[in-house]
């Protein structure tokens, strides 16, 4: 591991020691964040898969009914029946903070007071298969909205986890070893300087003694 390009001075040593401490603390915090995010994410992903399987199944059902309705009724009739929907859905999004990831929470509102009020046609001229198709779609609607919420949350969390993981790795494998090496390098350099000063002093003392008293140690 490369030693940072710094002057081997005491000031630099104190700075580096402080930086190392911060890096260690940051690393610990980020690692905790990553672990917690991962735990929540895995739960969410399982939920996401379950919801998706259910929604896909429901849509397949609805399509089957729709296909039968189409074969029984003329296209224009179906168009007329579904042309003016009575129901309209709107969603309110509140933002929630989960481990510093901003995730959405959906709240659904229906225009008509009864949320089962979705048949936009009289029953006289339409096939019951059309009713079935609309019914099976409306059955999975809450799941569809939950799916949208969960899937978005998963996507947002995934990118945050990726970022956090990279940070943890950078700290663990690059920054912290680099600081440690540099601190070791500076300490050794300073010790070396001290030793050389001591020997120089001893030598000077010897020389002075020799000069004053003709004394050899």
């Amino acid at each position: 591991m490369a030693v940072l390009n710094v002057n081997p001075t005491r000031m630099e040593l104190t700075n580096l020691k402080r930086k190392l401490l911060t890096a260690r603390r940051g690393h610990k915090l980020l690692k905790d964040k990553r672990d917690e995010l991962m735990r929540q994410f895995l739960d969410l992903v399982r939920e996401n898969k379950r919801l998706r399987a259910r929604v896909e199944e429901g849509i397949r059902d609805a399509n089957r009914h729709m296909a039968i309705a189409r074969s029984v009724m003329r296209d224009e009739e179906i168009d007329v029946a579904l042309m003016m929907p009575v129901q309209s859905v709107s969603v309110d999004i509140t933002e929630k903070n989960a481990m510093s990831v901003i995730i959405p929470e959906y709240k659904t509102f229906f225009r008509s007071a009864d949320e089962n009020d979705m048949y936009s046609y009289g029953y006289a001229f339409t096939s019951c298969d059309l009713d079935n198709a609309v019914k099976s779609l409306s059955d999975i609607m809450p799941d569809m909205i939950r799916l949208a919420e969960t899937e978005k949350t998963c996507q947002l969390m995934a990118s945050e986890i990726e970022k956090t993981r990279r940070r943890v790795n950078a700290l663990e494998h690059i920054m912290i070893p680099q600081y440690e090496e540099t601190i070791k390098y500076i300490t050794m350099k300073l010790d070396e300087n001290e030793r050389s000063t001591t020997t120089r002093l001893m030598k000077v003392k010897d020389m002075m003694l020799e000069k004053a008293h003709n004394y050899t140690a």
Binding site: M38, F41, L42, V45, R46, N48, K49, R52, V55, E56, I59, R60, A62, N63, M66, A67, R70, I78, L82, P85, Q87, S88, V89, S90, V91, D92, I93, E95, I102, P104, Y106, F109, F110, R111, M118, Y119, S120, A133, V134, L137, S138, M141, M144, I145, L147, A148, E149, E151, K152, C154, Q155, L156, M157, A158, S159, I161, E162, R165
Partner: protein, 103 residues
């Protein structure tokens, strides 16, 4: 207040109109791409796109991945399930964990 949109070929999405979703019938990928600009304005909380259309727009949909809204959700159309939706979920897992551990 946000709306919910459904985009895809007409036969696949017509039923959703009855539920109160806004429908955007498209015949071609070009048309769908134009509609995406409408969705990007932030009026929609969720946009369900049929897998057939979504597969032609994968590069554009990548842009929405990290945005708060809309949530772009692929759904199977009348032609059947191609598995793009599940693949998307696996992609999230792969991005987060490094490999798809839940399959």
């Amino acid at each position: 207040m946000y709306k919910i949109a459904v985009m895809g070929d007409r036969d696949s999405i017509y039923g959703f109109a009855a539920l109160g979703f806004e429908i955007f019938p498209v015949d071609s990928v070009e048309q769908a791409r134009k509609n995406l600009k409408t969705f990007a304005d932030g009026e929609y909380a969720a946009v369900y796109i049929t897998e057939a259309v979504a597969s032609g727009l994968s590069a554009e949909l990548e842009f929405f991945r990290e945005k708060m809204n809309p949530a772009i959700i692929p759904i199977p159309g009348i032609t059947g399930n191609t598995g793009i939706g599940m693949k998307n979920v696996s992609k999230s897992v792969e991005q987060a964990v490094g490999s798809d551990i839940i399959s």
